[in-house]
Symmetry: C2
Subunit: 804 residues, 2 copies
């Protein structure tokens, strides 16, 4: 719909990374949109629909009104945002996004190719582009479609190299303020002098307390916003044809649904497009994330085969499934051109095959955890190093091409027991890959590992939270399927009922298996002896994953034969034969859901005694909503709603669960102990009752101070355990049944002297010190005392006498 005439409407497209607890004070919360929202007094919760009414913005005597909406995609970082601003002389009460802007600013030049940035831009309108190119380079870079639009609609185009200016000023890659200043200067929605004055006042207010240096940088950014220049639009562009479309082998579902939605053009899709692809019931194809190939990172790992000891740890801890070991036969290797490989000596079943560690340079988010934890050759050093990513470089293109071929090489995972050790586990294909999680996310390595171990028969009930967003940021689905078409089933429910939701899945599955067993008995009565034997074998082993995997294909054949022969029971069984392999029920949630909002349900579900597995991704705050304190937040940590540091110790969810006696419980931290993590997850799944695994997960909300930030998330887990901040243990009820102490403390006696330094290595604690210097040390000492109390509980638990 056209905008009302008296409104000047603006769209600003930008990238956005959700961050909080910024230690460097000049970062505005969120991206450009949020910054502008703040400047205009609109608050920082700039979700669509947040500001139905405009606010009066300028001075006491000027009746100028501004309204702002924001639209995002659902990536946790490196995502897309669009600010929709309206200015007018009277109050504005539009309840919809800007669709026909007078002005468009594009802050990321790559977006010219990814999004329809000129969509709706009015005739004679204005376009501002942040670009590092000169005019000639830009003309070459700019898509024909954009050029044509400019020429046909008499658009005035300006460019500015805000990226360069920001670096010169010392603002790093923070271009917001420069571009905001350029925006005011070009549009003159308010007098430029007034805008400059107001912007400077805002900068002083926001950063005054941080020192003159920071204020000065922002002043400089405001002043240099005038360094834009006009870009000539050539009349002949009006007749340009579209550029040729890039061809690839993506399925129609991706081309016709996923890509338009990713390109912010989902609102142009028709209902019939969804009907065509069978998604009108809310289901969605898996594996679409693999077609994004975002290439948004600054660095990628490079593999130096000479230093590689084939330990597979890089793949184990990769949050994005973007670095993997591949195993090739001679024949398979022959299909590659110049692929560096190593000869395999172990495991025995792979002896003589060819081993390669390959990163997916277009899927990697560049966190660097792989290189950080790579043990490498004892003398020669690491086998992985982070190198700058350049999508146009030949070596990067070759790596991308190799990756595309390698993922099509048949998996060798069936040659080994993938559950037996960390190395083997990584020969299993991750059925969770390239999620929208933050670079270096502490949660996703756990989720990915589950998908490798149990993904081919896994059912997932996910709580709302980060994990529900990165696991199903439609149109992008990271859960995928293997070459047999098997993969996890995923659904997401609320914070407050995620465990009940998963219990429902498990009970439904149980009932269907009972039905299968009944039908098998009925069918057996008049069936051949072999059928009967198979049916009996299945019934006796129906809760054994490996056995059912073994029996299922034979039984499926026998059922098909029975149906063919006219057996009515077999005909029904045929419709139910996907229940033959024992499923693995997982319930995944964050600490907000598990410790707080969904805890009543979690308790009810573990009490039920049913065979479900709960994975708690413990970031110790509500990560997805911006870091509010939960009952998992430790004493002393700063968080939303606990701005002076939390004053109550962390709830011991694991210990609580042990009181039932029939619940498998574990506390893990992958980076601290790869083996213990694998062991706990394996035991949890094997226990034929409720299991709960609490996994420590560093998060951007923690503000890791170590150089590399979230690229050290795995190392931070290690530190956390070594200093006593987090403890590793398992409570296995199977041992109690044998008269043994079911509790084992798996982490060593901590070096408590490192506890204090660990706290200061995270902004969530460091901020307490900055804001409350007098109380902080006391609070930290108390935090350590609480961790020690907790540790003592575990020591006592481990010392218990369970002999009769």
């Amino acid at each position: 719909m056209p905008e009302p005439k008296n409104h000047f409407t603006i769209g600003i497209v930008d990238d956005v990374t959700f961050t909080s607890l910024p230690e460097v004070p000049e970062i505005a919360l969120g991206g450009a949109g949020m910054f502008q929202a703040k400047f205009f007094g609109l608050g920082a919760d700039g979700t669509v629909g947040a500001n139905k009414n405009s606010v009066k913005i300028i001075g006491d005597n000027t009746d100028k009104y501004c309204q702002a909406y924001f639209s995002y995609d659902s990536k946790k970082s490196g995502g897309f945002t669009c600010s929709h601003l309206r200015f007018g002389d009277t109050p504005i009460r539009s309840t919809y996004l800007v669709t026909t802007p007078n002005f468009v600013a594009c802050h990321v030049q790559a977006y010219l190719h990814m999004y329809d940035v000129t969509r709706g831009l009015q005739k004679n309108g204005t376009f501002l582009l942040n670009t590092i190119f000169d005019d000639a380079e830009l003309e070459k870079f700019m898509p024909n479609k954009v050029k044509r639009y400019f020429a046909q609609n008499n658009i005035t185009v300006y460019t500015i190299n805000a990226t360069k200016i920001a670096q010169e000023i010392g603002l790093g890659n923070r271009t917001n303020t420069i571009l905001q200043s350029a925006f005011f200067r070009i549009t003159e929605v308010i007098p430029v002098e007034l805008a400059v004055e107001k912007m400077k006042a805002a900068a002083l207010k926001s950063y005054g307390a941080k020192g003159q240096d920071v204020v000065d940088k922002n002043y400089a950014a405001i002043d240099r916003g005038g360094e834009f220049k006009k870009f000539e639009v050539k009349p002949e562009w009006a007749n340009l044809a579209d550029d040729a479309e890039k061809q690839d082998d993506a399925p129609a579902f991706v081309k016709e649904l996923v890509r338009p939605i990713n390109a912010q053009a989902g609102d142009l899709l028709k209902v019939s497009d969804f009907v065509k692809h069978g998604t009108v019931d809310g289901s969605w194809e898996v594996g679409t994330a693999a077609y994004e190939k975002r290439g948004v990172e600054a660095f990628v790992p490079a593999w130096n085969s000479e230093n590689c000891i084939q330990c597979n740890q890089c793949a184990y801890i990769c949050p994005h499934a973007a670095i993997r070991p591949f195993v090739l036969t001679d024949d398979e290797l022959a299909g590659f051109d110049g692929l560096t490989t190593l000869e395999m000596k172990a495991p025995a079943a792979m002896k003589g095959m060819h081993f390669v560690i390959e990163p997916s340079v277009l899927d990697c988010l560049g966190c660097g955890n792989c290189a950080d934890i790579c043990p490498g050759h004892p003398k020669k050093g690491k086998a992985l190093t982070m190198v700058p990513f350049n999508p146009d470089a030949a070596d990067m293109k070759k790596m991308a091409a190799d990756w595309d071929k390698l993922v099509k090489v048949p998996s060798k995972q069936d040659l080994v027991d993938i559950r037996s050790n960390v190395k083997n586990s990584q020969f299993a294909q991750p059925l969770f890959e390239f999620s929208g999680a933050c670079s270096g996310c502490g949660e996703t390595p756990y989720v990915k590992l589950l998908s490798q171990l149990f993904g081919d028969r896994q059912m997932i009930a996910n709580a709302t939270g980060c994990s529900s967003i990165y696991s199903a940021s439609i149109p992008s689905t990271p859960y995928t399927k293997n070459e047999k078409g098997q993969g996890p089933v995923f659904n997401n429910s609320l914070f407050e009922d995620f465990c009940e939701f998963g219990l429902g899945m498990a009970l439904g599955n149980k009932k269907m298996k009972e039905r299968v067993a009944k039908l098998l008995c009925e069918a057996s009565e008049n069936a051949p002896a072999e059928f009967k034997a198979l049916a009996e074998e299945w019934i006796a082993n129906k809760d054994d994953a490996d056995k059912t995997k073994e029996i299922a294909p034979k039984l499926r054949e026998a059922i098909a034969a029975g149906a063919e022969a006219g057996c009515e029971f077999c005909k029904e069984l045929k419709t139910l034969d996907h229940y033959l392999v024992k499923r693995s029920q997982w319930i995944i949630g964050g600490d907000g859901a598990s410790y707080d909002i969904g805890y009543g349900g979690l308790d009810h579900v573990i009490a039920s005694g049913e065979d479900v597995n709960i994975l708690v991704l413990d970031t110790e705050v509500y990560s997805n909503t911006g870091g509010q304190a939960s009952k998992a937040t430790p004493l002393g940590a700063i968080a939303q709603f606990a701005a002076q540091g939390k004053r109550i110790r962390k709830k011991d969810l694991g210990m609580i669960a042990t009181t039932y006696g029939y619940v498998y419980v574990a506390q893990i931290a992958m980076g601290a102990d790869h083996n213990q993590t694998l062991k706990a997850i394996r035991e949890a799944e094997a226990w034929h009752g409720p299991s709960i695994v609490i996994a420590y997960a560093p998060c951007i909300n923690h503000g890791l101070k170590a150089k590399g930030g979230m690229g050290k998330s795995q190392a931070e887990e290690k530190k956390a355990v070594e200093c006593g901040y987090w403890h590793l243990w398992r409570y296995n009820p199977a041992l109690a049944e044998e008269g043994k102490n079911p509790f084992s403390l798996d982490s060593k006696e901590p070096n408590w002297e490192n506890f204090h330094d660990f706290l200061l290595g995270e902004v969530r604690y460091l901020s307490v010190k900055k804001a409350y210097p007098n109380e902080a040390e006391e609070l930290f000492a108390e935090a350590q005392k609480m961790a020690q109390l907790r540790y003592k509980t575990y020591i006592r638990k481990a010392a218990e006498n369970w002999e009769d």
Copy 2:
């Protein structure tokens, strides 16, 4: 509104006791109303509004329709019910109670005096009365008002002695079937032969499985329903004046609101009646239960002073606060006529005073627990025996009159430390008395004890459930106030938020105290030194109950003086001076609320660290809604939704709460250990943090098999602990702070050999044996194993090493 012409409308007033798990199979669930509902195929959930549409009742060729509604008061037992029936030849869709019946049956002769049983009865209508009187006696007994109504409206009156008939048949006091048969015979709403046939068919269907004997008794009841006779209505009664109203000293609130509502005439009250008494905001006067003087029990305790050792245990365990020790000075005793007393030797402060144990014969519910647990004289025997209750006997009248005078004698509780021991605690006035709980209720002794220890400064947040019903069955309020006008504040919220509700109360109170402290500081600046000293003393001790009680009166005076002198801070303080005494926040709920539906909130509240006290009344089932299984239900018990016996062990709520480390936790059972109960409650309240006390409470849903049933509820608690079914322990975080093990196991090593017998002593377990003889023993053995596992957990906990 007048009933539609083609409906024959009926009201049947009866008493009702909610029971479930009946072991004697011929008891219909509920009273007459429910029985009829069942007979007419209407189901047993006969709450008002349940049956909007009538059902077709008779044969295939008879178009006869019946509709039924039921109205109750909210007593848990001995309450009032009225069945509202309509019969017609076409479907009935009336959405309101019967107001102008053609026929009224009154099944309880006492109701002639208590309720307006002829209200709305149509001219030329019919009245049936169940009475043990002959016509002459009845004429004498019947109120003038009723007689006049009969005479003025040409009512045909019938009487029947169903009570006697039931006894003759062997149906005890179950008169329902007889009266139902009489009803059909008198009204002929359907042909009598058909009614008899249908009633017998229903009896056979209901009781066929229980044996011919039971069926025969019901057949006899149906046959003898014809033994009614006409009662002559004398024309001269038309001019009778009303009987003189009974005079008493009840306040206007009781006379003008409470009594009309109790008499089922609340719908005749006007809004202005509520305005007059200031109850339009939903608040209600406390202490109204004391004016009911229901006199509904069959037996009352009689005190034999010679055998009394003045231990006060009878008062301690009385569920109804209907037996109490009174202490009189010589002067006070002089005001009584022939009151038997004992001279007091202890406690020292009462030496030489006069001691009397007095039951309130009109408030007692006759359970008999007092007599059962009375230790009495070692040689001479018990000091209490249960004797039949006859409200008209002279001794009973004297006891009632003595009681009325004794409760007006000033309490001597301030002479002793009421918290120091069980005996002293009972010199404290119960501020919770004569509730509508079932006779012998296992819950109310705990609730009453709290009111004695903390009632003068207690705030109560109550979960929905039995305790919310018997604590506030408006118009009857058992919470009351002492002679100073102090008493508990009570409010009731939901199952699912009762703890949050109580936390809100506590936080509100905390905030107000902070405000008082701030105002005191401000007022102190220009106040006399004495004011300042008092203010400082209060601030330093504001969380100490005893200290604030001591300081408050003086400080209140000082504030009043300050306000008088014009201090603005003091003026505001005056409006807040009810916050000066430290309040005691209690949160009371059943196991359904605490273990299940409200558990998420309970966890959040204990995690908060705030100073609240939670009392869990653990009946191991949802008592109020009819006995559904909760997570507190032990393995093996039969319950609604767990009809084959629960297969999962009982949740250990107490152990869960201990994991926080800063929560006081206790498990108690009054009947098993009077002292441990007192100690735990005392410690819980004294702990300046969250406390949770889990109290074992036998319930009518358990079906105690012991002779005397719920009259043995205290003895059952003892048995439960002795056999290992329930354990007594305390977890006191204050000890951990001293480096001591905070856990102490207070009950002795159980006699496990009695465990099995204990189970068989309760219908909830016995029923499993009857219904599933093959599995029951296995289940019971498993139940014992679970109790033993639990006990071992406590043993391990008690053995922990807490030294540094």
